[in-house]
Symmetry: C2
Subunit: 322 residues, 2 copies
C-alpha cells in the first residue's frame, strides 16, 4: 500500500470568491485574492488499500458523515482517473482549526487532500495543476495550495488555478466572536444570492475590477490601497448577501461593532482594514508594525490571534504503508 | 397682507425613495410607497408682506440658517411664478418632531409649506398639483401631502406626484435609538450611491418591481406580503448604501439588534417587519392587534411610539394678517 501525508493552511480572502459560473467544475464567476495564513493547518494522510471496497474518511479521528465522505471520494475519483488507478483509499485528516475560530475548514482540507492524494496515487502535479485539482474539492482550496498572497483566476477548467502574488508584508488579526453554527452555509447562501439578489451580476462585474485594483496595489506594494479595497469589497459582499431574498446577514451586532472599532483605530493612525467571510468573525488586515496593537485593542470583542503569510500545500511524508 | 396656516405629518416609506433621475426637478429614479403618520406634525404659517425685501423663515421660533431659508424661498418662487405675484413672505414653522425621534423633518416641513404658500398666494391646487409642488421642496414631501398610504410615481414633472392607496390597516412602532447627528446627510448619501455603487442601477430596477409587488399586496389587503416586501426592500436599500465608496452605514449595532429582535418576534407569531431610513432608528410595520405588544417588547432598545395612518396636508387657517 502506498501512502502520503500532506499539510495545508487556511486562507482568508481580500477579494472574495462568491458566485460560480460552473457548479460542476467549481469555476468562479470572478477571480479572487487571498492570504494563505501560517496557523491552523490541516494534515491529511491518504493510504491506498487494494483490499478496500470503498473509500473511508475520518476527521480528527471521527468517521466522516456520508456527505463529507462523498465529497472526499469525488476528489479521489478525479485523481484515480488521471492516474489510471482504481484502488480505494483511507483518508485521515487532522484539522488544527479550533471549532470556535470560525474559519472555513474546507480550503485547507481539500488543499491537503489534493496534495496527499496526488502523491499517494503517483501523480506528479505542478502547483498550477495541484491548485486546479484542489479547486474541484472546494473553490477556495485552490488558493490554499499557494503560499502567502495568491490570486485565483476565473476562466475555464484549464485557466482557473491560483498562483503566487508579490505584495506588501501583511498581518491579519482574527477576531473570533461566535461559536454558533452559521444560519445558512456559505455554499447555500452563494446559491441563494445567485438566484435572488438583484445585485448579483453587478457584484460579479465589480469583483473583476476590484481584483484588478487589488493586484495593482500588490504590485505597487501599496498596503493602504490594498487595505482600502479589502474593506470596501467586504462591505459589498455582505451587502450582496443582505440583498438576497430572504435577506441573509452573517454579521452580528458584535461584528458591526468591530468594523466600527477598526474605523476608529484608523482615525488614530493605525493601518488596519476589516473584512469578514460568511460568518460573524472579523479579520483585520494590518501591517507587521501595527498587528499587536490592533490585536490588543480588539481583544475586548473576542479572542484575537495575529497571523501572517503561511506555506502552501506540501507533502510532508510519503512511502509504503506499514 | 394675506396669510395661511397649514399642517402636515411625516411619512415613513415602505418602498423607499433613494436616487433621483433629475436633481433640479426632484424627479425620483423609481416610484415609492409610504405611510403618512398621525404624529409629529409640522405647522407652517406663510404671511405675505408687501413691505418686505426678502423672504424670512423661522423654525420653532429660531431664524433659519441661510441654506434653509434659501430652500424655503426657492419653493415660494415657484408659487409666486404660478400665482403671478412677486410679494415676499414670512414663513414660520413649528415642528413637533422631537429632535431625538430621528425622523426626517423635511417631508412634513415642505408639505406644510407648499399647502400654506399655495393658499396664501391664492393658488387653488388639487392634491396632485399640491403634491407636485411639495416635491420641489423635498422629494418625500410629495407623499406627506397625501393621508395614510401613498404612492409617489416616478415620471416627468407632470407625472411625478403622490396619490392615496387603499391597503391594510397598519400601525408602525418607531424605535428611537440615537440622538446623534447622521454621519452623512441622506441627500449626500444618495448622491454618493448614485456615483459610486456598482449596485445602483440594479437597485433602481428592483425598486420598480418591488413597488409593483407592494401595490398588489395593498390591493389584496395582504399585510404579510406587504410586510415581507418592506423588510426585504429596507435590507436592499441599506445594502446599496453599504456598497458605496467609501461605504456608508446608517445602521448601528443596536439597529441590527432590533432587526434581529423583530425576526424573533415573527417566530413567536407576531405580525411585524422592520425597516429603517437613512439613520439608526428602526420602524416596525405591524398590525393594530400586535402593535402594543411589539412596542412593549422592543422598549428595551430605546423609546418606542406606536403610530397609525395620519392626515394629509391641510390648510387650517387663512385670512388677512392683522
Amino acid at each position: 500500500m502506498t501512502r502520503a501525508v500532506a499539510r495545508s493552511h487556511p486562507n482568508i480572502a481580500l477579494v472574495k470568491y462568491w458566485g460560480k459560473q460552473d457548479e460542476q467544475l467549481i469555476l468562479p464567476a470572478a477571480g479572487s485574492l487571498s492570504l494563505t495564513i501560517d496557523a491552523f493547518p490541516t494534515t491529511t494522510e491518504v493510504t491506498l488499500d487494494s483490499g478496500a471496497t470503498e473509500d473511508t474518511f475520518s476527521l480528527n479521528g471521527i468517521p466522516g458523515a456520508v456527505g463529507q465522505t462523498a465529497r472526499v471520494s469525488a476528489l479521489l475519483d478525479i485523481v484515480r482517473e488521471a492516474a489510471g488507478v482504481s484502488t480505494f483509499a483511507h483518508v485521515d485528516s487532522v484539522s488544527e482549526i479550533p471549532t470556535d475560530a470560525g474559519l472555513a475548514s474546507s480550503a485547507a482540507g481539500f488543499s491537503a487532500l489534493a496534495a496527499a492524494a496526488a502523491a499517494a496515487y503517483g501523480l506528479d502535479l505542478d502547483p498550477r495543476a495541484l491548485s486546479r485539482l484542489a479547486r474541484r474539492g472546494s473553490g477556495s482550496a485552490s488558493r490554499s495550495v499557494i503560499p502567502g498572497l495568491a490570486v485565483w483566476h476565473a476562466g475555464n477548467d484549464e485557466e482557473s488555478f491560483a498562483e503566487p502574488v508579490d505584495g506588501p508584508d501583511v498581518r491579519m488579526v482574527i477576531v473570533t466572536l461566535s461559536t454558533g453554527a452559521k444560519p445558512v452555509s456559505s455554499r447555500e447562501a452563494m446559491r441563494i444570492c445567485m438566484l435572488t439578489s438583484p445585485y448579483y451580476s453587478a457584484w460579479v462585474d465589480s469583483t473583476k475590477w476590484t481584483l484588478e485594483g487589488a493586484l495593482e496595489a500588490c504590485k505597487d506594494n501599496d498596503f493602504t490601497r490594498l487595505g482600502r479595497i479589502t474593506e470596501l469589497h467586504a462591505n459589498r459582499m455582505h451587502a450582496l448577501i443582505q440583498s438576497a431574498d430572504p435577506p441573509i446577514r452573517y454579521l452580528t451586532p458584535q461584528s458591526v461593532a468591530v468594523f466600527d472599532a477598526v474605523a476608529q483605530l484608523r482615525q488614530e493612525g493605525r493601518n488596519c482594514y476589516a473584512t469578514a467571510d460568511a460568518g460573524p468573525n472579523v479579520v483585520v488586515l494590518t501591517t507587521p508594525d501595527d498587528a499587536d496593537r490592533v490585536a490588543r485593542h480588539l481583544a475586548g470583542f473576542g479572542q484575537t490571534r495575529v497571523v501572517g503569510a503561511g506555506l502552501g500545500a506540501a507533502v510532508i511524508e510519503r512511502g509504503v504503508a506499514s
